[in-house]
């Protein structure tokens, strides 16, 4: 009990010290967040980041030392989950858990939940900045600018926005060289012999298009499980899936190609499967252009030889 109390006192002392130092790194910013609210961030000395893309941007902005907590989806950089407090899965947050990391600003993806907890958190004195969940180059720039302004790192943010924009320009140039777009299918996972595919409006759909592929599941809305027969009809030439842990890679590949429907597609016949890290591929953080480029290189091996990725 005593240790606990002195710990709390120490934390309070640290907070006030850091708080006093905060204006130096640009406090008092008013931002309009993804939910359209005006949020005033007075002190960004202790940041809690919820959402894989949000955490990635905070690290890219060089605010790592100010980051006190992340959520379970913050898997890049890998040290985030090792070094920072983990408030759990972003759709199953706990009000008190979030408050307990003693952040001075909460940066949360619009996908955070449950709604009641988000409502409680928005009502606290700690500014809660909702970061929109958009899957487009412009969306990434918007996210970076919002987060950069909220934590007072605008200059760094602008540098990243320029970098991201340049990456997308060079991606577009590479995409222009594609003569015959590949028909691709994104498979989120396989359950009970059915593949859950990424349809319209998903991050998977967006990245496939950016990489110059045709999403054969564009008629489906959202991530949906598809019966075998439907997969045959879509006739993808290549399947894109997320790489999980290194040990289960082989298993996942085997499982995908044991599905009769997938076996008989052109992708199944040619055994063309592209595995990429989930957050890298679908996170739509600063690395999205690079991810799209990597995906493009795997989709079009011939082009990749002529146009090596930097």
């Amino acid at each position: 009990m005593n240790a606990l109390r002195s710990g709390a006192a120490l934390a309070a002392l640290l907070t006030s010290l850091l708080g006093a130092a905060a204006p130096a790194c640009g406090g008092g910013n008013v931002v309009t967040d993804g939910g359209g609210r005006q949020v005033e961030v007075g002190d960004a000395s202790r940041i809690l980041s919820i959402g894989g893309d949000v955490t990635e941007i905070v690290y890219a902005l060089g605010a790592e030392t100010r980051l006190v907590g992340v959520d379970a989806t913050s898997q890049f950089p890998p040290r985030a989950l090792r070094e920072k407090k983990n408030v759990g899965y972003m759709r199953a947050l706990s009000s008190e858990g979030v408050i307990s990391v003693d952040a001075t600003v909460v940066l949360a993806s619009a996908g955070a939940g449950p709604p009641e907890v988000v409502k409680t958190l928005k009502a606290t004195r700690v500014p809660y900045v909702e970061v929109p969940d958009e899957h487009s180059p412009a969306g990434i720039a918007g996210k970076v600018r919002l987060i950069a302004k909220a934590i007072g790192a605008e200059a760094e943010g602008e540098r990243i926005v320029q970098q991201v924009a340049a990456d997308f320009v060079s991606l577009e140039a590479a995409r222009a060289k594609i003569r015959q777009p590949v028909r691709a299918l994104f498979v989120l996972g396989v359950q009970n012999g059915r593949a859950t595919v990424g349809g319209q409006g998903t991050s998977a759909d967006a990245i496939l298009k950016l990489a110059g592929a045709v999403n054969v599941a564009a008629a489906v809305n959202g991530f949906r499980p598809l019966p075998d027969e439907a997969v045959v009809e879509l006739a993808p030439e290549v399947i894109v899936a997320m790489r999980r842990t290194s040990s289960s890679d082989a298993h996942g590949v085997e499982q995908l190609f044991t599905l009769k429907g997938i076996q008989s597609t052109p992708a199944g016949v040619g055994r063309r499967l592209i595995l990429m890290d989930g957050l890298y591929l679908l996170g739509f953080g600063p690395r999205a252009a690079a991810a799209a480029k990597d995906l493009m290189a795997s989709l079009y091996p011939d082009l990749a030889g002529a146009n090596p990725t930097p």
């Binding site: 199953a92 858990g97 307990s100 449950p114 709604p115 409680t120």
Partner: protein
């Protein structure tokens, strides 16, 4: 074996009445003490490390209206997060335990439990439908009912399931364990299948939300939710005492109860209504939390016998204590993240349930 206990008990009543009554009184006192301890724990343990030490400061600040940042934080955690959570946990635990006790009395079967016989699933189906269609097909309903939409839907789902169950079991004449359980399992499976259908129509995010919701949790506790369950809590609290005599009469059998002057059919309807109110509201605020309704009344009967004057209040107190304790475990195990309450409750409840089945030969009758 336990199924036979009521009869034995009644037969030996003149002999056993006095000591049992004493044990019953003691049990209620102990249960109340346990509940008080669990309530204090629930208020003073959490990931922020704020304890009840802060309470005087918070109350002073609340009365004077003068708060600084640190007190505001303590006030938020104690009054707006932990206190509604305590009240909802209390309601969920007491409601589920009492529903279990009432259903076991109604069906004269120690295995009857809102979770096992599908009433929770029926309530959950209605709640899931409300969540999924709340912005589309059922928009009018959610608009009119506001915060009450979810508990009322779940309540209706609970009433419907229990009523169907009673109809099926009553057709068989004798209230057989097998019929009750199998009918309940079938109804539960049907509800689950329909929930699956709704889940299939949902997108990936709604799906994850529904899954998390079904695991059960009190983490979304808030004052509006407390207000939403209040009418149900009142209904259960006021209705229970009127059912004690009927439930005790039913211990002997429906015909015997009738001869004791119990209006059996009317009482049955009231029991169904109150059970559904308690289960529905509990499911609406916390999702599916199992085993409370079966282990708590059972432990109470083991100690104090089948008299509902003891079983109902003691179950309510112990059920509240059990859920509050499980909730503290759920929020502390992985802090600052949280385990789902339903998972913790199943981890605690399932072994106890198995132990009862093996040791006591429960349900053998």
């Amino acid at each position: 074996m336990t199924a036979a206990v009521p009869m034995d008990e009644r037969a030996r009543r003149p002999l056993r009445n006095a000591p049992r009554a004493a044990t019953g009184g003691q049990l209620i006192v102990w249960a109340a003490l346990l509940l008080a301890a669990a309530a204090v724990m629930s208020l003073s343990i959490g990931s922020t490390g704020i304890t009840l030490d802060a309470l005087p400061r918070v109350i002073t600040a609340w009365i004077t209206g003068r708060t600084d940042a640190s007190v505001a934080r303590e006030q938020l955690v104690l009054l707006d997060i932990r206190l509604p959570r305590l009240l909802l946990g209390l309601f969920v635990g007491a409601g589920l335990a009492v529903s279990g006790a009432m259903m076991q009395g109604l069906f004269r079967n120690p295995l009857a439990d809102p979770g096992l016989v599908g009433v929770s699933a029926g309530a959950a189906l209605a709640a899931v439908a409300t969540i999924a269609f709340g912005n589309g097909l059922a928009a009018v309903w959610t608009k009119i009912m506001g915060v009450y939409a979810l508990p009322f839907s779940a309540f209706a789902g609970g009433v419907a399931t229990t009523a169907i169950l009673v109809m099926i079991v009553a057709r068989q004449g004798q209230l057989a364990t097998a019929t009750l359980l199998l009918a309940g399992i079938a109804l539960g499976a049907l509800s689950t299948a329909l929930m699956g259908l709704i889940a299939f129509a949902s997108d990936d995010r709604e799906l994850r939300d529904l899954t998390l919701w079904m695991l059960g949790s009190l983490s979304g506790a808030s004052w509006p939710k407390v207000v939403a369950v209040l009418p149900f809590a009142l209904l259960v609290g006021l209705g229970l005492p009127r059912l004690v005599r009927a439930l005790n009469g039913l211990l002997l059998g429906e015909a015997e109860a009738f001869h004791l002057g119990v209006d059996v059919e009317r009482m049955k309807r009231q029991i169904i209504l109150i059970t559904a109110a308690a289960v529905g509201a509990a499911v609406a605020v916390a999702g599916i939390v199992g085993f409370v309704g079966i282990i708590v009344p059972h432990l109470v009967r083991l100690v104090a016998g089948p008299d509902h004057r003891i079983v109902l209040p003691a179950s309510a107190l112990l059920g509240g204590a059990l859920v509050l304790t499980a909730d503290v475990a759920a929020r502390m195990a992985l802090r600052p993240a949280e385990l789902p309450l339903g998972v913790v409750m199943a981890l605690i409840g399932a072994p106890i349930f198995l132990h009862l089945v093996v040791k006591r030969g429960m349900g053998a009758g």
